[in-house]
Each structure stands twice: as structure tokens, then as C-alpha cells.
Amino acid sequence: MSETTAIPDLQVRAAERKAPRGKTFAEHPLVQLTVVRFLETLREPEALFWIFAFPILLAGGLGIAFRNRPAEVLKIATVTPEITQSLQKEKLLAVQQLDLPSAEEALRTGKVALLVVAGANGAIVYRYDDTNPEGRTARMLADRAVQQAAGRVDPVSTSDVLMREPGSRYIDFLIPGLLGMNLMGSAIWGMGFTVVDARRKKLLKRLIATPMPKQYFLLSYVLSRILMLVAEVGIVLGFGALIFHVPVRGSLLSLAVVCLLGSLTFSALGLLLASRAKTIEAASGLMNAVMLPMWIASGVFFSAQRFPDVVQPIIRALPLTAAIDALRANMLQGANLVQLMPQLAVLVSWLLICFVLALKLFRWR
């Protein structure tokens, strides 16, 4: 076998290997994995819609549907100028002066809620349908205006304080709920889908066939998640503040801590759900089964306290309930991190349990 002498020996080739030169920041595997992960998300238009456009559309739609309307102005009719004049001082009434037949016609067809006519000896007669709340309200408002115009003085002085300032409206309740829902959705989908897809395509197997440090793979997901998080939270909060003047009364740092912890917790949950699944269908069924109960029970759209007392301890222990409660307390009541300890403790527990389990169960192939 003289031909083997012509073939360079292993040692010869090993000696030819150059000493590795140091890597620049951009050449570091963790940086490359994070960049790639981030690029993949940006190039997925569907994912961008669900992460950015969907919560805004939802907040906009619900904010408009459930907006607080100013008290309605009621239409009433009169037939004499004197009465018309005395009623015009009441701002919640719109007074029309008509001739009697048209006024009666307007009352009958519901165009006005009340008809005010002069009775005998300067008396006033109210004609209305007492089964119609508008009619009853209009009668009370009209009577007060008539009596005050005639010189009545109320024995007890009263005043009104209106509760319309930001912080107690439905939209104020909704925005932290949507923010929590978004944190959960984007972390679980973002983690679960991409990991299962890479496993299905045998890309995970290909990656562990390289010298890639395995922890970098996981870490790159966390880093790109944090990058996305800044944009995600910023857009929802910015939209709420700009369009609906939703307040952020707590410190922004505490809010950032809550968002970061929430996102990490849901990422760990997503990783756990994706640790074994080999098809997108299996993973997506699992993710929906976990997320749907939380969408309903954790108080995204309505208070979780509406559920019976028996199930309250379970609902309080859900990660989404903890995240949303903490977000609401921070944004609406200005709670600090110490006051949020119970919710943060729930999140940290979920984070640790899910992460440890995920690492134990995870399959690269």
C-alpha cells in the first residue's frame, strides 16, 4: 500500500491548523444567534401583526365601544313661550315650541319624551309615558326648572363632583390586561412555535452537530425576546397614553421589572410546552389549551373577581393573573415593587418550575 504515503497524515494536517484568532463582538456565537433570531421574527409578517397590530386594534375597538358617554340631552315640547323660556335654563333638556296638534303628535310618536302645557290658574301639566325612563327623567328635570324659575329655594345646598378623570374608566382597566395578554402570547408563541419548527426541520439536530454552546441557543431566545419586549410594551403603552390618556402612575422601572419578569416566565412556559412536541399541530394544541383558560379567567377583559370565591385561589396562582394584577396595580394605583411582592412571587415560582422542567424534558431531535 505505497499510495498511503502520498496522503498527508492526520498529524501533518493538525500542524497546519492556524492558531484561532480572537473573535470580534459581531462574530460571537451568542450575538449571531440573537441577530438571526431577531431577523427571523422581523421577517415573519404574521407574527408582527399578532405582536404589534392586534393589541392596538383590540384596545382601539374596545376603547371606543365602551367609552363613557356624557349624560344625554332629552327632547321635550311646549306650546307657550313663557314655559319655553323657564325650561331653557335646564341644560339637559332640549325644548321645542310647537302648536298643540304637532306637539301631541311628537309625543305620541316618541320624538319628544315630555309635553309641558299650561293648566288652569297658572298650573303646569306634564304629559308623558311613565313607563319610559326618559319620560320620567325629563319630567323631574322640567319640574325642577319650572319650580326654580318660579323662585323655589332648596333647603339643603348640594354640589356635584364628577368621576371622569383617567384611571377609573374601562380603557384604563383594559390596557394593562391587554399588555399582560400580549406578554403571554408573544412569549409562548415566539418560543414554542420556533423551537418546534426547528426541531421538525431537524435544524436543532444540525445545530448541536456544531460546536455551538447549547446554553447560547437558549440565551439568544431570551435576548431577542427582551429586544422585542421593549417595542411591544412601548407600542401598547404609548397607544394607551396618547389616544386614551391611560396613566402610568407607578415608576417606569417597576413597570419594566414586571414586564421583564412576566415575559421570562411566559418564555419558560413556552419552552416547557415546546420541549417535546415534534409537530406544529401538537404544539399549537398544547399552547392553546394552556393559554385559553388564562385569557378567560385571569382578568384581561373583566375583573377576575367575578368568578366564585371557591376558584379564586386557583385564579390568583395563574401567571397571567399575577402579571395583569401587577401591571394594573403599578399603572393605576402606582404600586411599587414591595407592594407587588405577592404577584412577583407567583411569577418567579412559575419561572423556576417551568425552566427547570423544560431543561429536564427538552429534546434536540
Binding site: M1, L10, A14, E44, K205, R206, A209, T210, P211
Partner: protein, 314 residues
């Protein structure tokens, strides 16, 4: 004979791996010399991929030893990974990334090797540098997979069915590339079920069947040792059931005769004597000849004569 035999790049002894119901690898011994291109040839399910994945450190064997570049997976995994180039069967790289981004990522895992742009040039994908992986053809994707295996400047290259599913032109293009990498002392272990691929690229070939090695040698040695130089095939049409096969074996220069579905295949040493004799014998039996073909014996014929089956029966 050289004074000191070079240390083998890969030595596999007594390898065994069973899954729930099948024994994929059943007591395999292999030795791949440094600098050679070694082929593992066999039908689907012969245990080629399992063998390769055990050698690549991706699958743990039930028993047996793997010594790769003088190292072992148990103790030197990190060092080994730096020196291997691996192409797996049907890996789908991320479709959203460009060719350049993909190679830049893979390059970042290795201490040394060509840059991403250099690796692209190695597999002649310069024009597709900024194309998304999802827009590449099958052949281009395989070339990218090859580039991913080369970015670490590997000493040992594993290629698992590199041309399966490609059209003939793309296959030939890939073969040209692989031939270039055979220089510079790089060792290659290639699995395939295409005998022409093994004949063209490999210095030595091990034929596997049912988890075992059934033949080993250079393609030429294997063809010479197991069967005759030429193959003659003919079809007797409707009369094949009355054909007297034993009479054919008596013809001078014929070594073996196999009859299957109306087609008869014969191993022949001296074509110029055997063919006229065959025609005379058929006319004596009064059997009309509908098809007749001859070709030089190939590894496929070696496999058939060893197992009685074709490589791609499935």
C-alpha cells in the same frame, strides 16, 4: 509499504444500536484512513445513517467503540466538534435567512475556518449570496448545507446522502465540488445508495445490509472479486415461463444467471463468446428475444450478487 502506517482517521469496533423493534447496526467494524473518501453503500434501512450519527456523536451506541481523529466522544466532545464538518440527511435550514446570514451564523460556532463569503465561493453560490434560503433550488440548498459543513475547515467531513433527491445535473455539480475537497488531506465519510456516486467519489467502499458490513474494498476490487466484468440482460417476453434457465448456465463464460419477472440477468466474463452462444441457445429453445442489453459490472451488481436484492428495491 510505508514504514509507519498512518493512524486511521476513524476506527469503529463492534458497534451495535437497536431501536424498539429493529436492530439498526449489528456489530459493525470500520476503519477510515486519513485522507481518503470512504463510502458507506447500502439500501435504505441498512443502518448507514445510524452508523454515521453514532460517529458524529449525535446518537449513543448500545455497545462498541468509536475513535475519531484519535479522540473519543466521551472525553473530547468539544475538541472533536471543532474539527468535524457535518452534513445531515434532510436538514432544512431557516428559510427566512439569506445564504450569507446562514453561513455567518455557522461560522461563529467555530474557532477557525474560511469566512462566510469564502465558504460561499467554495460551493459556487456567489450569485445567491443575498437570497433567502427558502428561494433556493434543491441543488443550491445542498450546496449551502455543504458550505455549512466546511466553515470550520474540518479535518473530517461527514456527508449523509448528499445528492439524494437531486436532478442529474445538480448531482454532477455537487460531485465536482466534493472531488475538490478531497485534496488537502481532508477525510470524508460519505453514505449513499447511489452506486455511481460511490464509484466516482470513493477510494474505498463498505457495503452495508441489515446493520452489517457485507463487503469492503475499492470499487474496482469489489467488482472484480464478486462478479464477472460484464452484465447481460435480456427479456424473453411471453415465453419466459418456458425458458430453460439451467441450460443458460452451461454457456461458456457465463458465471451466474438470475431470472426475475421475465427479465434474465447474467454475469459474464467473456462477452464476445457468451453473447453469440446465448443467441444460439435461445434460438435452439425457440424463444424470441425482445430486449438485449449489456453493461460493465457496477457496485449495484455487486450488491445484487451478494444479497439477491437490488439497492433500490423499496
Amino acid at each position: 509499504m510505508s514504514a509507519v502506517a498512518p493512524k486511521p482517521a476513524l476506527r469503529v469496533t463492534g458497534l451495535r444500536k437497536a431501536y424498539q423493534d429493529v436492530v439498526a447496526v449489528n456489530g459493525l467494524d470500520l476503519e477510515v484512513r486519513a485522507g481518503e473518501c470512504f463510502g458507506l453503500l447500502g439500501p435504505n434501512g441498512a443502518g448507514k445513517t445510524t452508523t454515521v450519527e453514532i460517529c458524529e456523536g449525535l446518537t449513543a451506541p448500545d455497545s462498541g467503540e468509536v475513535e475519531l481523529l484519535g479522540m473519543h466522544w466521551k472525553t473530547d466532545a468539544d475538541q472533536l466538534r471543532q474539527r468535524l464538518g457535518i452534513q445531515l440527511q434532510d436538514t432544512q435550514l431557516s428559510e427566512k435567512l439569506t445564504v450569507f446570514e446562514t453561513l455567518r451564523l455557522f461560522r461563529s460556532f467555530f474557532d477557525q475556518g474560511p469566512g462566510a463569503a469564502e465558504a460561499i465561493a467554495l460551493v459556487q453560490l456567489e450569485e445567491k449570496k443575498n437570497s433567502r434560503v427558502g428561494n433556493l433550488s434543491g441543488g443550491q440548498k445542498q450546496r449551502l448545507a455543504l458550505a455549512c459543513a466546511l466553515v470550520g475547515d474540518p479535518d473530517f467531513l461527514f456527508l449523509d446522502e448528499p445528492t439524494t433527491g437531486l436532478d442529474p445535473q445538480a448531482r454532477r455539480q455537487l460531485w465536482d465540488l466534493i472531488e475538490q475537497f478531497k485534496s488537502s488531506g481532508r477525510t470524508i465519510l460519505l453514505t449513499t445508495h447511489y452506486m455511481d456516486e460511490a464509484e466516482r467519489l470513493c477510494e474505498r467502499v463498505a457495503i452495508m445490509d441489515n446493520g452489517k458490513q457485507i463487503a469492503l474494498g475499492s470499487p474496482r476490487e469489489l467488482i472484480a472479486s464478486t462478479c464477472a466484468e460484464h452484465m447481460v440482460a435480456f427479456s424473453a417476453g411471453a415465453k419466459s415461463n418456458v425458458l430453460d434457465v439451467p441450460a443458460l448456465r452451461q454457456i461458456e463464460g457465463v458465471r451466474e444467471v438470475r431470472s426475475e419477472n421475465g427479465t434474465v440477468e447474467m454475469q459474464v466474463t467473456e462477452l464476445h463468446l457468451a453473447v453469440p452462444a446465448l443467441l444460439a441457445e435461445l434460438s435452439r429453445q425457440n424463444i424470441p428475444l425482445t430486449e438485449l442489453s449489456t453493461h460493465s459490472a457496477t457496485l449495484e451488481d455487486v450488491f445484487v450478487s451478494l444479497t439477491g436484492r437490488h439497492l433500490r428495491d423499496e
